[in-house]
Symmetry: C2
Subunit: 550 residues, 2 copies
């Protein structure tokens, strides 16, 4: 270790060194990088999802609110991170981590991300980003074309036209949904004579001026929670998000949607937006987008599609028809850190009309001035990193065909796994996969037989006990750390109104194989038969005995 | 290059390889990393700020909206990025880049960021982040303590208590300001009997229920543009942001503020928040925070301090008094990617009251469930990267003393540079530095003499011409690429109502030295005397001749 790093004492000279890029190939930095790379490789290649150490226990390592007075060595901090943070992280890249939408990254993302971090560009303005600005506009154009498929002259005209924007790049799907609904709200309650528009006047004056009693956003009851959050933030109110019933395949009930639209308008309510879901978070189902677009048009509402998860299905020649109608949306949310496989922190709201974002355009005196090319005039966020570079790299290095293989592989695997679950006596498939997401639960044969013929009260009692068993299996499997499925609650028509606890599986990692999925089921069955669940099994047996006897 | 990379054709086998971390030390990955590291080192050590290639020219490299059908080689994309993106980026790390708040990074951020990217944790929930969740809470606690300085038992109780939060980590200052004002709005218009609160009911019903005609946010006219954006998003409206006059030192006029508060309340307006500025973006001045806190208290308003830039001044024993009163704020915005020197994409809203965020708390069925430790229940964003790890590393590796040296060094340098400008005949200091930001403009001696005695019309004419010269010098200096200062427009009392164009210098890079700052002035004087500005000089002379004659 060089002298500069032997003493961690704060001095102007040390500061100078710390802000200077070391050039020697055998520098502390080079050694640090090698050690980190080795350690990360070990972490990423390990076959467990997480250690068994409890979160409460881990919290003890992060309990001190004091900022150290004197510096610690870089090597000391690196060791701390490797031991206390890396080792106690979740291997989201593991093929056995099939519970959430955070998955493995293509290996090339890591060295390319170095470029982004080292350059430390800020794409809010061209003065701190230069090439990153046209690059981000190109990425938005590529995905706009994937969704809307406009002709070449359209992109030749708008791709790099600073007065327009094909979308807004942001930190993730929540900000993308918020941005899209912000645009929808401002376009729904626009300037008019002396009235400057809702953005300037606020919701209270806007509704009054335009003669509405209230505003509304309509989405199926499987809509992502970020939509409620957006309605709260936007001053529309969570109560004004109307959760519409779904059919047996978890898709919005169009008749209920139409009826609600008519009822709202008759009551003097402005419908700001209809939101279609392009892959529900819980079950991966897709709303009938073309029909929703028609209903939105009829009622003069903005049509937004939340395709944060399912959008990349458009890469697949075989499955893109599932999203038919998405090209009719006024705006579409895509998450790049989901099925575009870039690191965490990249989402997009795309807009069919390149002039739509004018509804939220803003300027300042020192940047994003009127007429500038600065991207910051059309985004919710201000300073932003150059994540678009990684989306660009994914699109070029994988190509459409590469993403298609990923999408097709995931959907095939989900269908296979659904068949496997259906064929396994102790499990019940609770939502068939349309994309690469499915849900199921543990239901021993005796319970299944009992559920088939029982009265509503008994069904509710049995399901109550099964819910507890599902929750415990999920928790114990997670804590054991060999594999991870998540859980949620679904309304399932055949079981009445009570929510049913289910396992949720998301199959995005191409390295997840059938053997591993069989292993997940085997382990769940093992936990169900273990001592930890003995009391619950006994309770279930007690309820089942008379039920079966009947 | 290994066979796997010789053929870029999309196949399941290639996909498998691309998602597998290569283990061989002489792999393509290792070679790619070495090449990128070498190239980045060259880029970061170069002594220019940007190439002279125009943005319009660069756009031609990013004009294609088509996603390639077949993959391109990783090495081909890396070469493209190095040649077309890295080479055409802005060297924000250059000591001669003194125009914006994006600066150099300590070298250790780069290898440590690798850990964050490779782990790809998602801190919205513990199931995808584990140790990153308590780590983020600790970082929020460390900065809470820096601002509020509560006692040990307070942090022992709240630091890791999932029912409370000392702050909300987010992608930057804009989202932090929005989050703070969201909390302020929801607490100002709370639930009450059958009324569920503004978050559920919307702005229109909330004002009606609570009996207000309107809502207001008050801030000096030097407030950051994100505050107007937040008022727009929140349904409060940009018109309801009241821009209060500033004194000669760019600090909010307390009398005007008090008068406006009284006037608004008399008119039935609910004052949602007063916003104090802890370092104005344009001039780095600090509002009288303690007095503003008292006014906010008197009027029952939330007191927010936007210390995105100046917050880290609290590290300095010598200068922390400048922020006196910040500990009385209900919420404080800090940007970590500014003076905490972490890579782009990290901000925080801190809350004095650990229960304040309950006003925006939300839940879902599959994550951030009631009672969980998931951070996502108390943030505006959903999925988020583990940037807190880099803040943690900065705080430990630099220590309080290290940050203090950075802050003290920047302020000293700014004061020296202000003196230098004041002593240079051709320049006029337009705002003296309180922190490490100052503004000035080019004013030849003859013009200065003329301005001193002229009537208002002549002053306006001369300043109009000087404004054009300032804008051109800034642009030509930027385009030449050797150094970079930014520009903005300020109201300057002695010159009447017309806005004055000024150069803006931000001194955050510890490697920026006096020699370099003298060089910036020398180059500006050279541009002013160059052929490019001949016509403007002639126009100025024509106005000055009679003015001087009088």
């Amino acid at each position: 270790m060089s002298d500069a790093h032997k003493t961690a004492e704060a001095s102007a000279e040390n500061l100078r060194r710390i802000f200077t890029v070391p050039e020697a190939p055998d520098s502390t930095l080079a050694r640090l990088e090698a050690e980190i790379a080795r350690n990360l490789q070990g972490f990423l290649n390990e076959r467990i999802v997480a250690t068994q150490r409890s979160l409460a226990d881990i919290e003890a390592d992060f309990g001190d609110a004091r900022i150290p007075e004197q510096p610690v060595f870089v090597s000391e901090q690196a060791d701390f991170l490797l031991e206390k943070v890396v080792a106690e992280s979740v291997r989201t890249a593991s093929p056995a981590f099939v519970g959430h939408m955070t998955s493995a990254l293509p290996y090339f993302m890591l060295p390319l991300a170095q470029i982004m971090i080292a350059l430390n560009q800020n794409v809010v303005k061209t003065e701190t980003s230069k090439a990153f600005t046209p690059l981000e506009r190109q990425v938005l154009g590529m995905l706009h074309r994937l969704v809307y498929g406009r002709e070449e002259p359209f992109y030749a005209q708008f791709l790099q036209d600073s007065r327009h924007a094909l979308g807004a790049f942001c930190s993730g799907g929540t900000i993308a949904n918020l941005t899209a609904l912000w645009v929808a709200r401002n376009n729904a309650l626009p300037a008019d004579g002396d009235f400057a528009g809702v953005g300037h006047e606020g919701m209270h004056r806007a509704l009054r001026h335009h003669g509405y009693d209230d505003a509304a956003i309509l989405v199926s009851r499987l809509g992502h929670y970020s939509l409620n959050k957006a309605a709260d933030v936007l001053g529309i109110g969570r109560k004004s998000v109307h959760a519409i019933e779904v059919d047996a395949r978890n898709r919005i009930d169009l008749r209920a949607l139409e009826a609600r639209c008519r009822q709202l308008r008759a009551g003097g309510v402005k419908i700001i937006a209809l939101v279609g879901i392009g892959g529900t978070t819980e079950t991966g189902n897709i709303d009938p987008l073309a029909s929703m677009a028609a209903i939105a048009r009829e009622h003069g509402a903005h049509f937004h599609v939340d395709a944060a998860w399912g959008g990349p299905t458009l890469f697949s020649a075989r499955w893109r028809h599932l999203l038919a109608g998405i090209e009719l949306a006024d705006s579409v949310t895509l998450d790049a850190h989901k099925q575009l496989y870039v690191p965490m922190g990249a989402g997009m709201a795309l807009f069919r009309d390149p002039a739509a974002v004018r509804a939220i355009e803003h300027h300042a005196r020192y940047i994003i001035r009127e007429g500038s090319r600065d991207l910051g005039s059309k985004t919710l966020e201000g300073s932003r990193p150059g994540m678009a570079m990684l989306v660009h790299s994914g699109l070029r290095i994988l190509g459409r065909r590469g993403y298609e293989l990923l999408i097709d592989g995931g959907i095939d695997k989900a269908r296979w796994f659904a068949d496997e679950i259906a064929a396994t006596p102790d499990f019940e498939l609770t939502s068939a996969p349309e994309l690469n997401i499915l849900t199921y639960r543990y239901v021993p044969t005796a319970a299944r037989q009992a559920l088939a013929g029982a009265d509503a009260g008994t069904v509710a009692r049995i399901n109550g006990l099964l819910n507890g068993i599902t929750r415990d299996i999920q928790r114990l499997q997670r804590d054991a750390g060999k594999s991870f499925v998540s859980r949620t609650q679904l309304g399932i028509a055949r079981y009445g109104d009570e929510a049913i606890d289910v396992f949720r599986v998301v199959l995005a990692n191409p390295l997840t194989d059938r053997q591993l999925l069989r292993e997940v089921l085997r382990e769940q069955r093992e936990i169900a038969a273990s001592a930890a669940l003995a009391a619950q099994r006994a309770q279930l047996d007690a309820v089942l005995a008379p039920a079966v006897a009947v």
